[in-house]
Amino acid sequence: MAEPNMTDTPATARAAAPLIDIRDLIKTYYIGRPNELEILHGINLTVWPGEFVAIVGESGSGKSTVMNIIGALDRPTKGSYLLDGIDVQSATDRELSAIRNRKIGFVFQTFNLIGRTTAQKNIELPMLYAGIPARARSSRAKELLAMVGMGDRARHQPNELSGGQKQRVAIARAMACNPALLLADEPTGALDSQTSRNVMDLFHDLHEQNGKTIVLITHNPELAEECQRILTLKDGRIVAERKGSGVRGTA
């Protein structure tokens, strides 16, 4: 198994500490039971600040498990995971909540906006859990809505928005607490090609203009090709790692 050392990380970033530092990660489900199942068999993964990385793999390859662990929704069974220098393995549930709140911005395939709640209130939600006062939340939410081109939809509820608009609100929500990492799980999976393009362009904008670190989990090779680095996951191991073009697609 080749160690994923061949990166094109910028020299400036390489000097800093890695944002994601996963060593020998093993994840086992149903521990101690007859149906004990090892999903991840020793993953090593380093993501540097400012990178745009794609993780690709067929279904059943362990993509979701990797995402759950990177997203601090789950803890590794063995191995270590440092996110922005914080040890996720030993964090308590409440600390994991705080890590998800401040360090990670989730973008889901199915958007997962809270129903019957306006776009602005949805964006304010992570800030609410971060304990930011109402006035600051409101102005930050408006700023983010304008950034994703949804400034005129602040009072719309999710069922009044199209799929692409929902995903843009969701991306704005992911950016609410200015997280260190944007973690996108098949963000275009439920969108048509044109809106997919718009959403991908938004990720490129956030990467290029805001210097966001983005981890994109997808099974679409064309989208993966747009990232700087592509990791291929198969049967719970990283089997390939190569450079991507890092430039926006046209379709």
């Binding site: 409440r94 909540s97 401040r102 809270i114 019957r116 609410l128 929500r173």
Partner: protein, 443 residues
């Protein structure tokens, strides 16, 4: 940077209330049906307490106006198993009394003027007033220039009656010693009686009128007018009111051809706080006259003891009915819990999303407890309104002024909040413990 403090709770409470309302608004019908249990529970408790309190209030008010500190001394039958009354000859008589209801004391059994005079001498300054009465019954008085008539209830009274019953004479005078000595046909009547019979604004003093009692017609002269205060009962028209009318005791006895004694009289003690001891002494005093009497003795009782007995009785019944009503509150609470469980299952993905966005367990728990409390509080407030409305209607039907109990209202608000927290806690904790990965995957 990563601290997760209680300040989140403070910041989030208003937002939680807002979210709770939004969620209830989205399921209006369900929210209303869930509240119904709480509304019925709180409403029936409040209604029952309101009616009960109104009843108690009216009864004690009207008894208060009769003078709670007054002691009534009356002849009572000795019970057959009373040791002091057990003589071989009483057995047969005792049985006949039981079988044919309360009997009347014979003339020689009555309390005499001599006994009362002795009593007054014996207790001296412990007694403020001794009020003696003779009931002549009700009579009708024709209204001047009309075919209508007014009703009066004629009572023969002595001088002390005014003190004992707090009669407020606003015009003229009360019955005096001269009236008693001369068995004069004078009377003290109600101000409203004068208005009813002679017309508004007429000075009744010196006027005379005919009153028919038991088919006999008597003419009385008005010497005094007192201020009439209606008791608890509500009369629809003025003709339904029976006004008390006071005449000299001696006059009443003469017209009634009544015996010289009394079945009962009223004593006003000079020290209200010593009433219990005074009552005991009074009974002991009269016992000496009745030790040889086979069937009668004297007992003393006060309105105070009667009021508290009646009030206690009503509140016991009230508590019993309210407890039954409270069971519907329990059922309502279980309904709230059930709907919270459903709501949490429906919103599993939402809970997962909130957790992914960084909501700690306690924030999720707070959110759902607030929602449950909001349901119960709204239900409780509606229930209080419904309960007061029903209680008022009920009290009015019974003819009493409604007295909504502030204590019951405050307790209901507190109790409905407590139900919200109690029945919301388990579902909310269940939500708080959901695994975010499972919750996000939930379809």
């Amino acid at each position: 940077m990563l601290q997760s403090g209680k300040e989140v709770v403070c910041v989030g409470l208003l937002d939680n209330i807002h979210m709770a309302f939004a969620s209830l608004w989205a399921n209006k019908m369900r929210a209303i049906l869930t509240m119904l249990g709480i509304i019925i529970g709180i409403g029936s408790v409040i209604a029952i307490v309101t009616v009960g309190d109104s009843l108690t209030g009216s009864i004690s008010d009207s008894m208060q106006s009769l003078g709670v500190s007054n002691i009534t001394v009356s002849l009572t039958e000795k019970s057959s198993d009373d040791s002091s009354a057990t003589t071989t000859t009483t057995t047969g008589r005792g049985v006949s009394i039981r079988m044919f209801g309360p009997s009347q004391p014979a003339d020689e059994d009555l309390i005499t003027d001599d006994m009362i005079a002795d009593y007054r001498t014996a207790f001296g300054d412990e007694i403020t007033a001794i009020s003696l009465t003779e009931t002549m019954g009700s009579g009708t008085v024709p209204v001047a220039n009309s075919s209508d008539s007014a009703s009066v209830n004629i009572t023969g009274v002595n001088l002390d009656y005014q003190t004992a019953e707090s009669i407020d004479v606003t015009n003229g005078r009360f019955i005096n010693q001269n009236d008693l000595d001369g068995t004069k046909k004078v009377c003290v009547v109600a101000d409203q009686f004068v208005s009813a019979v002679f017309g508004e604004g007429v000075d009744g003093i010196g006027k005379s009128f005919d009153v028919t009692v038991n088919n006999k017609v008597y003419t009385f002269y008005i010497v005094g007018v007192y201020q009439y205060e209606a008791d608890g009962t509500v009369a629809l028209t003025s003709s339904d009111v029976t006004y008390p009318m006071y005449v000299p005791l001696t006059t009443a006895k003469k017209l009634d051809s009544a015996a010289a004694g009394y079945q009962s009289f009223t004593v006003v003690g000079s020290a209200v706080e010593n009433n219990a001891a005074f009552m005991q002494n009074t009974e002991d005093f009269f016992d000496s006259y009745y030790t040889r009497n086979q069937s009668w003795t004297v007992s003393a009782s006060s309105m105070e003891t009667m009021v508290s007995t009646v009030t206690e009785m009503i509140s016991t019944v009230q508590v019993a009915i309210a407890a039954i009503a409270a069971i519907s509150l329990l059922v309502g609470g279980i309904g709230v819990m059930n709907i919270m469980m459903v709501s949490i299952t429906e919103r599993t993905r939402e809970i997962g999303t909130r957790k992914a966005l960084g909501a700690p367990g306690f924030a999720i728990r707070l959110q759902f407890i607030v929602e449950s409390v909001v349901i119960c509080l709204i239900g409780g407030v509606i229930g209080i309104i419904v309960g007061i409305a029903l209680g008022t209607v009920g009290a009015n039907l019974l003819g009493y002024a409604a007295k909504p109990s502030l204590v019951a209202i405050v307790a209901s608000v507190g109790f409905s909040m407590a139900i919200g927290v109690f029945f919301g806690y388990y579902p909310a904790s269940k939500a708080a413990k959901l695994d975010p990965i499972e919750a996000l995957r939930y379809e």
